[in-house]
Each structure stands twice: as C-alpha cells, then as structure tokens.
C-alpha cells in the first residue's frame, strides 16, 4: 500500500493506506482523530470539514494520497495551548449545538468564513455561507448567533 505523509494539527504523520482512502478516513481510521465526522456520502452535510493549508475543505471530497506534504487542521487541533478557540467558545456560549455531531464541521467552516469574510458578519451572509453544512437539531438560529459572536471575538 502506498505511503502518505502530511502535517496534522502540527504533528508530522504518515501512513500506508489503500489508494482509495479519503482524507476523512485517513484522519478517523488511521490517525484515530474521530472528531471529524461523516454524515453523508454525497459531500452535502459538511460534518467532515477540516482546514487544509488554511482553507476549509470537506475531507470526504479528497483522496488522502493527493495531500502529500499538506498542512491539515482538524477540530482537535483548533484549541491552542489548552485554550479554546473563540469560535468554540461562541458555540458553547450561544447554545449552538445539541447532539454535537455536525459541530466540528460547523466550527471549522465558521472559522473559515471569518478568515474570508472578516469579523463583522450579518445574518444573511452567515446563513448563505453555512449552506454547505447541515444541522438537524438547532434550526440554525443559535449557530447563526454563534458565528457572529465568534467572528467578533476572533478580532480581539
């Protein structure tokens, strides 16, 4: 089986994998980083969003072998030095999660929205930008609030 090496959450990692292996499978099954979830098989739900080289990516859409040398951040790597990322804090503070299954993807997407769109986000922008992430529990109301609050907190 071919070998792939990349940096995940700041650590050099590698694995010999079936060439069919998707990034999300490499993360979950090889590295046992199970915070990244699989909620569908059509790249619709966004539960598997991670950051690759600083940009949000649905990790079910890419073969792990194509990411040789890439820099990957998953939900497990978002908090630094034991301190939660402001977007994680915002999700908790605004009750933007219930069952928690979509949450890792939602948070990774939300951080990416702020990186692209800045720290002042209106409701319409947030709702539009969250199109690629499904949540079945919250009706999105509190997620929208959390993204706005997290965006502002990220400016500090």
């Amino acid at each position: 089986m071919p070998k792939v090496s990349m940096t995940v959450n700041g650590k050099e990692v590698s694995g010999n994998i079936d060439s069919r292996t998707l990034l999300v499978q490499f993360l979950r099954d090889t590295l046992r980083l199970t915070g990244t979830h699989v909620g569908c098989d059509t790249s619709q739900c966004g539960c598997c969003v991670v950051h690759v080289d600083g940009k949000a990516l649905k990790s079910c859409t890419v073969l792990a072998l194509t990411l040789e040398g890439a820099n990957v951040t998953t939900i497990e790597g978002l908090a630094t030095d034991g301190k939660l990322h402001p977007m994680q804090e915002a999700f908790r503070e605004n009750h933007a999660l219930q069952c928690g299954f979509c949450t890792p993807g939602m948070i990774m997407t939300s951080v990416d929205i702020v990186n692209r769109k800045g720290n002042k986000l209106d409701e319409q922008t947030i709702r539009h930008e969250l199109e690629g992430n499904l949540c079945r529990c919250t009706g999105y109301h509190n997620i929208v609030k959390a993204v706005a609050a997290g965006a502002e907190a990220m400016a500090k």
Partner: protein
Amino acid sequence: MSATGLGASVRRKEDLRFITGRGQYTDDINRPGQAYAYFLRSPHAHAEIKSLDTKAARKADGVLAVLTGDDIAADKVGGLICGWMIHSKDGSPMKAGAHPALAQGKVRYVGDHVAVVIAETLAQARDASEKIKVDYKVLPAVVDMNDAVKKGAPVIHDVSDNNTVYNWHLGDKAATDAAFAKAKHVTKLDLVNNRLVPNAMEPRAAVGDYEPGTESFTLYTTSQNPHVARLVLSAFIGIAPEHKLRVIAPDVGGGFGSKIFIYAEETVCVWAAKKVGRPVKWTADRSEAFLSDAHGRDHLTHAELALDEKGKMIGLRVNTKANLGAYLSTFSSSVPTYLYAPLLSGQYDIPAIYAEVDGIYTNTAPVDAYRGAGRPEATFVVERLVEIAARETGADPAQFRLKNFIRTFPHQTPVIMAYDVGNYQAALEKALEMADYRNIGKRKAASAREGKLRGIGFSAYIEACGIAPSAAVGSLGAGVGLWESAEVRVNPIGTVEVLTGSHSHGQGHETTFAQLVSDRLGIPIDNVSIVHGDTDKVQMGMGTYGSRSGAVGMSAIFKALDKVIAKGKKVAAYCLEAAADDIDFKDGKFSVKGTDKEIDFGSVALQAYIAHKFSGQDLEPGLKEGAFWDPTNFTFPAGVHICELEIDPETGTTRIDHWTAVDDFGRVINPMIVEGQVHGGIGQGVGQALCEGAHYDKSGQLVTASFNDYCMPRADDLPSYNVGMTQTPCPSNPLGIKGCGEAGAIAAPPAVINAITDAVGHENVAMPATPLAVWRAAQKAVMKKAAE
C-alpha cells in the same frame, strides 16, 4: 434562583467534548480485532429470492463470513418485533407479518437486508458483496396506499390478503354523525401528510462484541433507549439473556425517533460477533440511512369539521390511511392510532369526535415515530381544518380559535385524553402581540405594492407528552410500561452521580438533570455528573422519546433525591444529636429546628460512609437511593405559533419573515435549552412544510435517497425565531414539567401552510410547498385578481 439552579440558562456541561472533537459516538468506537459488516440490500421493492449463492463472496480477500437468512433461521435468531398491539374495529388483532433480520425467501422493499458480508476491512466487505449471486423473481410492487388495498394488489405479507394491518377507530360514531346532521356549516378537507426521512446527522451504527470467557455480549449502538434494545434483543430476538448482554448507547448524534427502534443491523452485528469470533462493526452511509431508517408521517386523510350557527365546533370526523411500510417497526402500530387520534380535539371544545385509521402495508421502508409521532399529523388535520373553517365562515382565524378554545380544566375530550391544565387564550393573545397581528393588513399592503404576496398562518397545537402512565398504555396495547428510573449515588466527599434511564442525544440532560440535583442538594453543579446509556451502569430505563425525559425522567430523579434527603436527615440527626424529625434540610445544610446547629451535605455524606456516629443495626451505612416514577397522566404542552411569510409570485419563492412561538411547557428548567429545542423543532417542521418529502416511484425505488435529492432545510432556508412562553405548571409531576422536545415540529407545518394559503388566496397547497407548487398557486391568485 441561583446561577445554576432551576430556571437558569446554564451553559451545557456536555459541550466541551463536542466543541473539541472529543465526543464518543458509536462509529468512533473501535474494538481490538474488529471486523466490518456490509449489508447486501435488495435492489427490488418486492421479489422472491429463488437462490442465493455466496460461494465466491466467501472466498474473496479478507472475508470472514457471509451470512444469510438461512443462518439466522438455523441459529433460531428471532425476528424483529412490533411492541404495541392494535386491535381492529371488529376486535381482531393487527396482522403483523414476520420480520426477519435477514430476508428469508422474500424481500419487501428496496434496501431490505439480503445478506451480510463480514471482512477485515469495510472495502473488502463491500467488494465481496458484489460477488454474491442472488436470483430474484421480481414481483409487482405497490407503494401507493390506495392501490395497496385494491382487490388484486400484490400481497406483501401472507397474513394480510388486502395489505391492511388494522382498521382501527376511536370515538363515538353515532354522536358524531348526529352532530354533523344538525351542523350549520361543514368544512371538508383532503390532506396528505408527506413522508419524511428523519435524518439525524449521525447515521445509525453498531459494534457487536462477544467475550467467550464470560459468554457475554456487548453492543454499542446508536440508540435512544438502550435498555429497551437489550430487552427486545434478549426476550424476543433471543441473542442472550439480559445479564449476558450489555448495550451501550454512547454519544448519539440526534435521534428524532429514528433511533428508538431495534433494527436488523444491530441485531446482526451482535449475533455475528459470536459467529465470527471477532467484534463486528457497521456504520450506515447516508444512502443506507435513507433506505433503511424508519421513515415518518405518510398519511392520507379526509377530515370534516361541523360548526353550529354560532360558529362553535360541534363535531369532527377523520378518516386516515397510514402507511406503515413493508414491515411493522418497533412502535409503528401506535403512531397513527393512540399517538394520533387522541390529539384530534386539539385545543378546542369539540363534543363529538370519530376517527377511523387504516394501517397499510406497502413496498416501502418501515414507517414509525418521527419527532412528534402522530401528534404533528393530528395537529395538521385540526389546524388546517380550523383555519379553513374560519375563512369559510368569514371569521378572523384568531377570534375563531379563541371562541372555540377549552376554557376550563380538567377537560375530558371525547378521545381518551383528560387535559389537566392550560391557558390557551393567554398563549394566543401573547402570540398576537408578539407577531404584531393588528398591523398585518398594513404589511400585506406593503408587500402587494412590491408585487409580493404576504400571508399569516396560525397553529394552536397540543401534544400529549410525559409518556406515559404504564397501566393506561398497557390497556391500550403497549407491550411495555413507560415509567422511568433513577439512582442517586452520593460519594463520601459529597459529589453525586445520577444514573438515569433517560438517554440524551442532544437534549442536554447532563446539564438540566445536574441543575435539579444541584438545586435540591445545594451542591455545586460541577459536583454532579449524569450517567446514562449503559445497561451495565444503569439498571433499567425506558429511554428518551415523546418529550418524556423532563416530565418522567426528572421526576424519578426528584423522587430519588427525596429519599437521599430523608436518609441524610437520619445521618445528620446522629451527627447533631437530635431526632431525625427535628432536622431541616435547606441550601445544602442539615440543621436542627430552632437551633444554630448544622452540618453540610458533604459532611453528612462522609459520615454516612464512615459510619462512626451510628450503629449498623440502627441505620444502614452509605448514601445511595433509587426510584421509579410512573406518571399518573400524560402531560399536555400547548401553544400558538404564527408564521408570517412573503411569496414572490414570479418565482414561487417563499421567505418566512417572522416566526412567533408561544409555548406552555409548564415549568422550565433551562430556558436556553428549551428555546433550542423549540428552534430545532420548528426547523424540522418548516422543513416538512416547505422542502422535505420522501418519494418512491411506482416500482418502489426511493428517488429521494441522498442529500442531493431529499431537500434538508439549510441555514438560508430558515428564519430566526421569536420565542416566548406562558406557564401553567403541570399538576401530575413534582416539577410541573410538560416537555418541549417535539412542540416545534408539531406546530410548524400547519402554521406555514396556513400562511401560504392565506397569501395565495386560500388555495389548498400540499406539503412540501416547493417553489413550483407555490408558484402554481400564486399564479392562480394573480390571475384571479387580474380577472376581478
């Protein structure tokens, strides 16, 4: 009220693990030596299996076993069961066809389980499944309920030659007919309650494990009720006796009903683990979830409402066909019967009601409880009828409801339920205020000037929650009691673990339950942990569904806490050298009445365990108490939702502008969590009304079997919600809780459709009201106006 006590919006204790990716969902669990299961599913909606050749698959790389219905039969693994017996009008029992975990001779829907391949990797199992040769004799399939009951329709189960499970009824037919005979006005309506796929974001999963040294099984599974799963797998399916079967439902990523049921896949995984001598894991991909999770709703209904000359409701007649799919899922039989018709009185004083329900087999996935389960279907019938009746008689829809509301409690409806308490007009009046109803005319005019159509729709819903008094549901056919259990374990240093039979899969029990304990014992909330979802830890429980965890689960905890406090008083009495009757307990301190002598809860806990102050003959050491709570009545959450929306008649696009929800959930423990439940419920209800719908083609293929094809509501499909509350505490449980989990999903669909039909001029628009459907209705309205 303290910052963490009852009524406080405490931030959730469970969130840390979820926001950091440290949750433990079933698919995150990997057992040493684990193998993977892949299910070969039927591509046909209805077929005989003439032969099944697994030879080549068994020889494929990495394959450990290929198992079929023959192996299930040889091992005497019992079939899946339906746990609620419904009797037809003529007294005959429902016709339940056999439901083997792997097909035996026949498949009955696309996705039915034909065989399972167990291999070293999932890819190997999937590859090998393609080498299984199945010779199907394809049979005609039937997916439409009206077709299914016609003479000559394909027979799905031999036990029912007309594909009818039951012809059930409720209410007084003669009294209802008499009411209609003297009616001044009758409103008639044909309705489709569209079929839905629950789609919890976490797909179902199972890991079966067998330990030969102790001859015991462990099943990790995505369950809302692990003890019920263990009971069924033990007592009916016969995997192992209960003490040799541990069921663990760890973090579960949403349920909405779909994870109540005991499915084929977990049954096969736990059985196969022993057979192959390895742990066996299965995780549904989303396509499998669409095909094989129990679906929801799917009713065809004709309903009639009779009014007298004053516009008072005097009778309601309902005839419903309910699609139960190809097999009877675990609680499927109860959903369109006892969870449906007893709610047909809504919030209204209707003296005579008669409902007939036919449960029908079709060649589609089984249909069972989905958020609200029967109650959204009932509310849709009542609230659509009421809205149309108001329009037909020229009454304001709010005033028409106010005129017909039940005003005095308790109120016995003609369909079983005895409503204990409520104040329906208070909720409606508050909602009218919040929705600025008095100025709706101005807003409609403003929209009209822009070439848009604005509508407003009401939904005054009621539900029966706190499920349920055991003896009562037993008399109606339930196979189980619906109490709940709790055990409060106080540790020697005064921290507390609560073991509960409720199961949290998003509801936040780890926080709300801890709030109760913290409040009553006067200890910090961080000193409390809630343990659930493991049959080896929690002795027994009935799980979480029907908005029952607050009303029933917390009542059990409340009762166990009473016992802890009573025992604590006895310990404190020895410590303070007083009589137990003279001990008070308040704010975490035991004190002697009328003195300043006191001892805190933690010290009493320690004294209970070191047992130096009393003799074992006088008082048992330790501080641990359990309780079972069996409710004495259902609870009746009710409220009013108002949807205001604007339609672009050129595109059919519907935009919800304002959503007002005023709910009476009785006592609220954590408003933040309760509001979150309301938001989520509305989201699902709006999804049903505007975009969701499972659709089978004539041949029985599910053509909406992925998120590409089945429209899940996304963030920009939904509005923000304006949530308010009224409170009439429930008298039948110690905390006064009614339950909040399903309200939004029950209230929302009629509110949306009433608003759309208001906007387009009273056309009947079916769910889902897609842009195409709305455009058609809107164009008719535009043309009608032009013609005027």
